[in-house]
Subunit: 630 residues, 2 copies
Amino acid sequence: MDPAQSNVVSLDPQRVEIAMEVHKLAPPPPKTTLQKLKSRLKETFFPDDPLRQFKGQPLKKKWILGAQYIFPILQWGPNYSLKLLKSDIVSGLTIASLAIPQGISYAKLANLPPIVGLYSSFVPPLVYAVLGSSRDLAVGPVSIASLILGSMLRKEVSPTKEPLLFLQLAFTSTFFAGLVQASLGILRLGFIIDFLSKATLIGFMAGAAIIVSLQQLKSLLGIVHFTTQMGLVPVLSSVFHNTNESLRKPKLFWVSAGAPLVSVILSTLLVFAFKAQNHGISIIGKLQEGLNPLSWNMLHFHGGYLGLVMKTGLVTGIISLTEGIAVGRTFAALNDYQVDGNKEMMAIGLMNMVGSCTSCYITTGAFSRSAVNHNAGAKTAVSNIVMAVTVMVTLLFLMPLFQYTPNLVLGAIIISAVVGLIDVPAAYLIWKIDKFDFFVMLCAFFGVIFISVQNGLAFAVGISIVKILLQMTRPKTVMLGNIPGTDIYRNLHHYKEAKRIPGFLILSIEASINFANTTYLNERISRWIQEYEAEEEVSKQSNLLFVILNMSAVSSIDTSGVSLIKDLKKTMEKQGMELVLVNPVGEVMEKLQRADQAHEIMKADCLYLTVGEAVASLSSTVKAQTSNHV
Amino acid sequence: MDPAQSNVVSLDPQRVEIAMEVHKLAPPPPKTTLQKLKSRLKETFFPDDPLRQFKGQPLKKKWILGAQYIFPILQWGPNYSLKLLKSDIVSGLTIASLAIPQGISYAKLANLPPIVGLYSSFVPPLVYAVLGSSRDLAVGPVSIASLILGSMLRKEVSPTKEPLLFLQLAFTSTFFAGLVQASLGILRLGFIIDFLSKATLIGFMAGAAIIVSLQQLKSLLGIVHFTTQMGLVPVLSSVFHNTNESLRKPKLFWVSAGAPLVSVILSTLLVFAFKAQNHGISIIGKLQEGLNPLSWNMLHFHGGYLGLVMKTGLVTGIISLTEGIAVGRTFAALNDYQVDGNKEMMAIGLMNMVGSCTSCYITTGAFSRSAVNHNAGAKTAVSNIVMAVTVMVTLLFLMPLFQYTPNLVLGAIIISAVVGLIDVPAAYLIWKIDKFDFFVMLCAFFGVIFISVQNGLAFAVGISIVKILLQMTRPKTVMLGNIPGTDIYRNLHHYKEAKRIPGFLILSIEASINFANTTYLNERISRWIQEYEAEEEVSKQSNLLFVILNMSAVSSIDTSGVSLIKDLKKTMEKQGMELVLVNPVGEVMEKLQRADQAHEIMKADCLYLTVGEAVASLSSTVKAQTSNHV
């Protein structure tokens, strides 16, 4: 059988009429408004169908599943083995060696006392171990959130002049951040963090990294003269240069994992040996021993700073949530397990609310430490518990050792951590794939550097949303042509072999039709018609008789869109043309029917299932009419 | 020839391979980044291709066309005839009889001296007659914009205590409104007004009408005792009730057109005859004779009120522009001519900027007066000139006649005009077609009544945008099945006769893929797979081998979307499934290719032009492999 022949056949009117009876455009199965609302709400808020596993289970099993849902530790805890524990202890000790120097450093970045960084590496990991569902997430303070918290609060309160008030505001902001995070999870509004696109985040992180580095360099450079004599800066910078590299090479990760602690120990020993604190090297100073003091009485829910802490909580909450969820998802995908986004949000949120009552500031899953955790062989959240216990021992017994740690080594640790956030290869890939995404990235980058951390971010998010809206107001309309020898219709400007059918203008609308684009679509379709007629005049082909709108890709329509279709119908009839719709989806068909009491749009000979059938059927009727006239 | 047979044939692997060679998925014709940017910008800002008519014309003709483009009067002026003039004089006088009482009334609504309403009915119509392209638009002050201007300015400045400052701010706001309008036109950002959906506007207008009516009723009710004796209110209210009705019945429109002027004349005569001003009836009082004084020296571009006037200008500018453009488009569609939206914006904007320098406040095309103009037989913008001349004569010679016009008749005129803005049948139609649009309408309605005019409007616009964004974050994915006896694949849940193909999961994604929906799509697709596998376990069918994504409706993709496709590919390979893409459009295919250096996604056996071909080809390869194993 010759394929070309079988396709010619499909244009035979007789055959088409038979085929037409077979595939009528069916209206969708009837549904009440309530059913529609229910399924819409489910798709919007429960796309992951979290209650699926509960279906058809006996009551007792439901209770157990429910408890496991809330406390994932009940799920993996019973099967925990000595072998797993061994891996978790190794990885837990490894991340503790990172968490202690980083905790102290990041607390300084947030303008908080160094010890708050250690407090924040003790309680939150324990809370997360019970509530969280990621096996690899290493929880603690992170650079970006610390930077934002510090810089937002510092605008209204000086951390040096009013340190107690500043600390209170930091805890209160952390409480609000946790509240925002948990609410997003409970209200299943987690998709809000999706509006921070990858491009925005890459630009934002790089910008923030540069700001942080410059801040730290300033303090480092202030003592450059002295440290060159000490030979410390060159040593450190080379150490940290290697650190960064090795984060990308799992085999060398021990270097990166150990480097910060080794630097702290070495520099502390050097300062202690040479009594450098008397020669102008600033040191941390005496730290209080003991575990986290309770701080719920330091939360400020009244007075003039409420707006500030709510705003700070919102911004830091969303940013740290984005980091935590992204890290959790990345490692879950690597190890083939699922992380439930909304549940993670509740876990991280509760962790911060508990943290704010126990002298901790904002924490989340840190990317670099989670990578080390994963590479060191972490199997479960027990590695977080091991880390927390190590920090606890440090808090109880080892605090005096940090007295002589020079502040500049903390600056170096911060710089080395944040420089890794500048991801040039990712930026290059974005440039290659999508120029507009690259532009958004640049906006985030320069916005953060030249405007401010939160406004730069808001600016980039705003631009990405404007892009979506612009796309929405300018949906694509494509002229289709027939691929010879087939029933297939494709974009004429893309497929050179596609041919026009004389007398037909076949357009495909590739977006939902709504108030934001009806005016444009009206203009654009009339321009298609004018262009078509202008070309026909030149080539002296037959008149335009039918305008076929392929609605396959129109996934929804609103009242303005329905009016557009009605208006188009009327305008075309005045000009002696017929508007034909092809394959409107269920919802669209239903709305058109409800608006079309006179059955003008939805009559049978203006509605087809495929473009091919519409063309075949309509050209056969035209032919029949012409021959009758003859 | 049996159609069923010809379709069975298409599943024969031999035939498919031949067919496959015929329709390969072609990459789109190459274009440089600059070319793409150019065509994107053109679609965004010049969808109506305004320069089309200039193409291929000689230079002199281009100059003439250019002048006609800027001043449409040059286009229709030369062909103007006595016959047209006769129609225009009749309609011009008719709308003048409406414009004079309405002008005075609306100026009072804006808390401005009544005479400003007459000034605003003199200069702006003349400017519009030269620049505007609508033949039916009757230009002058309108109720909604007057209300907004008055209520926004009154919040910071009292019109009774500081009348001069208030007047200055009104002129300055008008100037900014004109600037905003002209800029939207010049920058071709006219689509911004598209974000005021029909539903929003209907709710907003009804809410504003109720606020205005209540305001006016308060002052009317204050004198109810007196007026009942005068018998004026019942008379007026019955007159205006009829007025409203008759606006919808063109044959009776003379009643509606004449009623306001007749009421003014009658009530003025009554007051004058009975000396009612001495019995508590408030009257307009003495009005200054003479034409518009220049007011450019009253514009305030400095000092503490700049923010207020800019905000007021923005809101009134956009609202009045929306009304003007909508009215222009409505009557253009009725009479089969085109109105260029962006050009109209420039015309209306310039009209207001000139107006603000000649003691006019914000004006636009008024719906009710344009309807009267149209029904009275207006043929060109000359009817606006006739109206302006009539107003001029009034300003020069007839001002003393208005001295005894009672204020309450102005209130009645306002109420009668705005009650017509409450469009219950349109609201009912919206309820029938789209429940969410109805909700937006209610938000606009109650927002305006209970919050404030501008915030209520902003609230409704915000909700409609959030709806679009929500739709964007939750794109539809649909499972397709084969309609037996054909190559057609359609929604399984919509077409009952559609059948699954064992071993294949065929999904159609019905929106562009971008950062806002990649997370959702990932979750949703994995849920489709899990559901499919759960059902297969029950029915013991073959394993899932292929996941086919129909990308026909994915009109664009960004870097996050590209990562999604890559991630899906990897995840499915781990689970022993193959991801197959069908018919990605040019732009999507290009981006995927650029990101896919290893040729994993875009290899030939994972890319097909139609779902039918993909299924046929893949099932034949599977069969071949199975038979080889046997």
